[in-house]
């Protein structure tokens, strides 16, 4: 039934299949977006919209999200929903705080990664071995991890120098790297405030000035994930466990082993994200993750279960998060930017024939433009919510026809198929 059910839709699928965008096309789109932002900057005078400081902050804010998203990607590609990412991230912050203040930042990173992997292992044991519902197990991890974190923090940090009941002693940051010569030249370009040129320089400077080595590690992990999952036999088998586990089983793939591997790596990625938070902010603090595990999961879903997509989602969140830190002026300019983005979406969705979506995007877009025009600043109470609102709006209205791995979230029992 299921095999034949899809067969006839073949023709339609072919037509609906997304066109591939070439690398040149992506560059073009990127430049167009930058030009739009630049135009808004010139119009509003909010220079923080594209300053290199903003870009750097955005990158730093995006990394933990992207790492959590990578964790989600590994796990869900193997068919296990891991909403325990948040909890695994908390374990990562804890591990980084504990090992970090005693043995240095890299030991902290390693410990965070290991504790995250441990959280992944717990989730794997529950879901893969015992067949517990993935959501329930994930929620359990999310509930247990912060409690455990707080308990252990009291135990080990209270009497440590500079530590407290809810925070670790200070942890040194990892090294930050700057591209030599390039950044000062880019900096002088940025200060000219030329349309587009200065913005481009600012973006490039933000991406090369004082970059945490952990950020570089995260970018490498993103690339490595793509290569491993899509170009190696290991990755193919892992993905087949998320698409058709019983087919994989019938070909001699040890589905459980791959699911275990995926969920443990997933936890390790989330733990690394947590470690990044702790190390870059200088200590472990209770509640440090602030829902970034969930945001990471969401950006992975809106990124259509692909590394590039999740990186874009994380980048968007990171950008708005950085904006929010820059103050209400920037957030006010962001209103106009969001309004324009939504109006562009309106056109795209309307041309694709999705009337309802286009209407929703259009109304919201107009509302944001009006809001921008009618006010001089955003109420400070709303500023903190900006990244969440913007990310959700843009991603929800932009991403359609998402395709999750077919057996994602389903409980696999060996030998149940066919």
């Amino acid at each position: 039934m299921s095999a034949t059910g899809t067969a006839v839709c073949a023709g339609t699928v072919l037509r609906a299949r997304r066109q591939r965008i070439s690398p040149l096309g992506y560059t073009g789109i990127g430049l167009a977006v930058l030009a739009a932002v630049s135009a808004v900057r010139v119009a509003t005078g909010a220079s923080d919209l594209t300053s290199s400081g903003t870009v750097g902050a955005a990158l730093a804010a995006a990394v933990p999200i992207a790492l959590a998203g990578l964790g989600g990607l590994w796990s869900e590609r193997a068919g296990v929903v891991n909403i325990g990412l948040e909890g695994q991230m908390v374990l990562g912050t804890l591990g980084a705080g504990w090992a970090g203040y005693q043995y240095g930042p890299w030991a902290g990173v390693l410990m965070g990664l290991l504790l995250g992997a441990l959280g992944g292992l717990v989730h794997a044991v529950a879901t893969v071995t015992f067949g517990v519902d993935h959501i329930i197990s994930g929620v359990a991890v999310n509930l247990v991890a912060p409690g455990l974190g707080l308990f252990l923090a009291k135990l080990v940090f209270r009497n440590a120098p500079g530590g407290g009941q809810k925070q670790s002693p200070p942890v040194r940051d990892v090294r930050h790297l700057t591209a030599p010569y390039l950044t000062s030249w880019l900096g002088s370009l940025e200060r000219r405030q030329w349309f587009l040129v200065s913005d481009l320089a600012a973006v490039l400077r933000g991406l090369t000035f004082q970059i945490s080595t952990l950020t570089i590690v995260a970018v490498l992990l993103l690339v490595a994930t793509f290569v491993v999952l899509w170009w190696t036999p290991f990755g193919l088998r892992l993905r087949s466990c998320g698409e058709a586990p019983y087919a994989a089983e019938s070909l001699g793939v040890n589905v459980r082993r791959y699911k275990y591997a995926a969920v443990i790596v997933s936890g390790a990625m989330a733990g690394l994200g947590g470690a990044f938070l702790a190390v870059s902010s200088g200590q472990f603090r209770d509640g440090q993750t602030g829902g970034r595990g969930f945001i990471g999961l969401a950006s992975m879903i809106f990124g259509n279960w692909r590394p590039g997509g999740l990186a874009m989602g994380a980048g968007l969140f990171g950008y708005t998060d950085a904006m929010q830190l820059r103050g209400s002026d920037a957030v006010h300019a962001l209103l106009l930017l969001l309004g324009i983005a939504l109006l562009v979406l309106t056109v795209i969705q309307a041309r694709a024939g999705r009337v309802v979506l286009a209407a929703v995007a259009g109304v919201l877009g107009a509302a944001f433009v009006l809001w921008f025009a009618a006010t001089d600043e955003v109420p400070p109470e709303l500023v903190g919510a900006t990244p969440y609102v913007v990310t959700l709006l843009v991603l929800a209205l932009a991403s359609q026809r998402l395709r999750m791995p077919k057996a994602d979230g389903q409980i696999y029992r060996k030998g149940d198929g066919g």
């Binding site: 290569v227 070909l251 198929g417 066919g418």
Partner: protein, 517 residues
């Protein structure tokens, strides 16, 4: 009988295979000898134990007793991987393919060629193209599986097995999902494979196909091998008797009971799915009292959506549906049922029954608001139970009692329970989706008889089925559905299965008795 095969000729020999499940013996003392380079058919009705036997041979199940010999060596397969290593490959009845992976990825999965740690796509592609060319499989490595039709998917499955170096292929009911033309193509492929020296185990219960393609036939009944014959020795009726122990039931209608009173009138019905695609468009038909309209089509062409739309489960985007002259286009499912729509759903486990509820509670389902199940707002347990007893008796539902859970019944008995539940005195129309799918011949005969009775009683019947023989035999008129449209009508008295097959796939003009609507 045929000559005893030489030792060297034998690809597989099974001796005394017995497999028990809690409460049932699926295979008992099975003996089977398969010669190399032949197409060996294993026939038996649903539930006779064919699939269990094949799962044992493929290492998915372990036999409780008995021995397996492959190429003269005793083998014990702990897993499919072991069977694959011994050169045995299986094409499952339900395809084991990942839709969102490419053909290449599906084929090489589990046995990927490697190059410097990565998957060697170039070598994989070359290998698949070579296999495809050798055996005429026409497989394109870089397409996504979800874009492929049923016949193509099956060829991918065969390619998958050959890629693993199988010399012995097990095909489990390979023709169940194919239209006649695709069956012919498959048989062409099988002959090519045989010519290359491969051995094929062909499992089926379609006797004419078995007689057409097999060199030798083994019959299984109630878990045991009862006969080994060659196609020249037997006729289809003889084979059927071997298979079920009695003559096979034939789907046929006797005298016409068609009246000129329209009961179910559908005009210009259209349904759009959430993505905005038209899954049904311009569907119009009228079923009169005492008439059976059969809907033929390759699965997934809108049959399920049509049934859902008629039952009010799926929203209709335009068009009208009328029952006995009353417009029910906007009616809820419950009011449709109360107005006399009876419904045999295509998947009795998902849509027809609460598997973990008792039989009498299942009797109440769908009739929970009307007598005898209900009195006012409350259920009338006593009357519901009494009526369940009546159904069990009249519809020959074999069960120890009406308090056992539905999952304890065999598929045939579950289906008879559903038929009995739906045939109340109030029914004026019956929507039957695949009513005899996956039931044994006894239940099949009984269900056909109940459908004839319903037709005699003046019900308008819509019959959706994938079994062309059933459609042709049980319908007063036939319509073919293709990509959500009714594309042809035929008179079942004169139509040939091949004509239906052409219309179902949209291959060429549907020339013949009926012609396009």
């Amino acid at each position: 009988m045929r000559r005893p095969p030489e030792q060297a000729d034998i690809a597989i020999a099974l001796h005394g295979i017995t497999k028990r499940f809690p409460g049932v013996v699926a295979n008992s003392d099975v003996d089977l000898t398969i010669r190399r380079g032949t197409v060996h058919a294993i026939v038996g009705e649903n539930g006779a134990g064919k699939s269990t036997l094949m799962k044992i041979l493929y290492g998915m199940l372990k036999p409780d007793e008995g021995t397996i010999t492959v190429d003269g060596r005793t083998a014990t397969f702990g897993s499919p991987a072991a069977a694959i290593a011994a050169g045995i490959g299986m094409v499952h009845q339900h395809f084991m393919l990942a839709d969102n992976l490419s053909v290449l990825e599906n084929v090489v999965l589990g046995g990927e060629p490697r190059q410097r740690g990565g998957l060697d796509f170039r070598a994989a592609r070359a290998r698949i193209e070579q296999i495809s060319a050798t055996y005429g499989l026409q497989v394109e490595p870089d397409r996504l599986v979800e874009e492929l039709g049923v016949g193509e998917r099956q060829r991918v499955e065969i390619c998958k097995v050959l890629y693993r170096g199988a010399r012995i292929l097990i095909l489990d009911e390979p023709t169940a999902v194919l239209v006649p033309q695709e069956v012919d193509e498959l048989f062409g492929n099988l002959r090519d494979l045989k010519a290359e020296g491969l051995t094929i185990l062909f499992i089926s219960h379609k006797l004419d196909e078995v007689l057409a393609v097999a060199d030798e036939i083994t019959v299984i009944r109630r878990g045991s091998t009862v006969a080994s014959v060659t196609p020249h020795e037997v006729t289809a009726p003889q084979l059927a008797e071997l298979m079920v122990g009695s003559a096979l039931p034939v789907p046929e209608l006797r005298e016409s009971t068609v009246t000129d009173r329209p009961v179910l009138e559908v005009s210009d019905l259209a349904v759009t799915d959430p993505d905005g695609r038209h899954v049904l468009s311009a569907i119009s038909f009228t079923i009169h009292a005492g008439e059976v309209l059969g809907i033929a089509g390759v699965e997934g062409n809108g049959q399920a959506e049509l049934v859902d739309a008629l039952m009010g489960v799926r929203p209709i985007s335009s068009g009208t549906v009328a029952l006995s002259g009353h417009d029910i286009t906007r009616s809820s499912t419950r009011s449709r049922r109360e107005a006399g729509m009876a419904y045999i759903p295509e998947d009795r486990h998902r849509q027809g029954l609460l598997l973990e509820a008792s039989i009498w509670e299942n009797r109440v389902l769908g009739h929970q608001t009307v007598a005898p199940s209900a009195r006012g707002l409350l259920l009338n347990r006593r009357a519901a139970r009494a009526d369940t007893q009546r159904i069990v008796r009249e519809y020959d539902v074999r069960t120890p009692g009406i308090d056992v859970v539905a999952s304890a019944l065999s598929g045939g008995n579950q289906q008879k329970l559903i038929v009995g539940r739906e045939m109340t005195g109030r029914s004026v129309a019956l929507i039957a989706a695949h009513p005899t799918r996956g039931v044994d011949v006894g239940a099949q005969a009984a269900i056909w008889e109940h459908m004839r009775a319903a037709r005699r009683a003046g019900l308008a019947v819509l019959l959706v089925s994938a079994d062309l023989e059933e459609l042709i035999g049980m319908s007063d008129s036939l319509a073919v559905i293709l990509r959500g449209r009714l594309v042809a009508r035929f008179d079942p008295k004169t139509v040939k299965p091949e004509q239906l097959g052409s219309a179902m796939t949209g291959a060429g003009a549907s020339a013949g008795a009926g012609g396009a609507v």
